[in-house]
Subunit: 209 residues, 2 copies
């Protein structure tokens, strides 16, 4: 039967026959690590499982990453969306909205989910290390962009000139983290718009008179 | 020597000789559970250890709490400070400041620390259960008080009448959670005052003109 022949033929492609090198293999390993994280989780993830998922041998993984902590940190780093360009749409309202959508995309990306599952599951030493990945990959870049957007609003005149407290840049990330943790909010477009119109615009608008 | 005689005498008080009943014994067990949580943590906490700390037998613990999840949930509930009275000092600024100090006291109380260590350490099923304790003991009461304080400000006139979005009441808890998690902030009085003066007052003040 056709099916059995196909199955038999597929059986002949042994992992070892895939001769990929350098970046291609590395990428396959990192993708396999993210896949393992989102299916079996941090505790059950093994270097062998990641190697199998990437159709390579365990040695190829260990050659690049000495431990699963190293591997997972790199997988998260490589997978999280870049947050490197501040929107510039001519108004604080529109810029904040666009930026919030970018932050949400990072939070709810596959690596974003993987990152949070890791933080719940792994022991506190490893959790601290991944906390560093969050700070470098999500917190710092998004704070930089919020700062840029607010600064541009001051120049344009739709942000009050004394909105300079560092806390201003933490209001949106704080609300997003809080509501997502406490209420399980997934931050629909409508909720993002409400946050901007009911919190950020009143907070940032120039004082009349 | 006096010391040795005291030590010898102390050795005669065996745990079994403590005949405490009802609420007194219950309280000793709950306190011992909090103590264990903050010293050995969730994973290493045992019913035997808690019983020993309360100078009672394991059976006395199991008679009241069938599992360590039940015991710890009750210990946290009993230990967390009450948040049940909204400050009323005649101004939104003063009321928010006082309320923030109460929330901080709950966050940084011994049961507050124990609660957070539990959430990091225990598996996700148990973590979800303790999440319920946080919501009932900390989140809901504090939101109720923030709402009360803001409502009184509207009546008095130092809060704009359209500050009615539910998100308004989440700004302070969101910032407190975010900065404490991400920057390890411990929220000094100065930081609380900055949050109120630079974020909450601009957000809530009536629009001039």
């Amino acid at each position: 039967m056709a099916t059995s022949r196909l199955t038999a033929a597929a059986g002949q492609f042994r992992p070892v026959s895939l001769r990929r090198r350098g970046l291609v293999l590395e990428r396959a390993i990192l993708e396999s690590a993210l896949e393992q994280l989102s299916t079996v989780g941090w505790n059950a993830l093994t270097m062998e499982g990641v190697a199998a998922g990437a159709q390579t041998g365990k040695a190829a993984v260990y050659r690049r990453w000495p431990s699963k902590e190293d591997l997972v940190a790199d997988a998260l780093r490589a997978g999280l969306p870049d947050l490197d360009e501040a929107p510039d749409r001519g108004g604080i309202r529109e810029d904040l909205y666009e930026l919030c959508r970018q932050v949400r995309a990072a939070m709810y990306s596959k690596p974003g989910f993987a990152l949070r599952s890791v933080l719940y599951e792994c022991d506190s030493g490893a959790a601290e290390r991944f906390h560093g990945v969050i700070v470098q990959q999500v917190i710092e870049p998004s704070t930089r962009l919020f700062r840029e957007v607010v600064r541009r609003g001051m120049e344009r005149g739709d942000v009050r000139p004394d909105a300079t407290s560092e806390l201003v840049f933490d209001v949106i990330p704080g609300l997003m983290m809080y509501r997502s943790k406490v209420c399980g909010s997934e931050w629909t477009d409508e909720e993002l718009a409400e946050m901007i119109d009911r919190i950020m615009v009143p907070l940032l608008r120039p004082v009349a008179g």
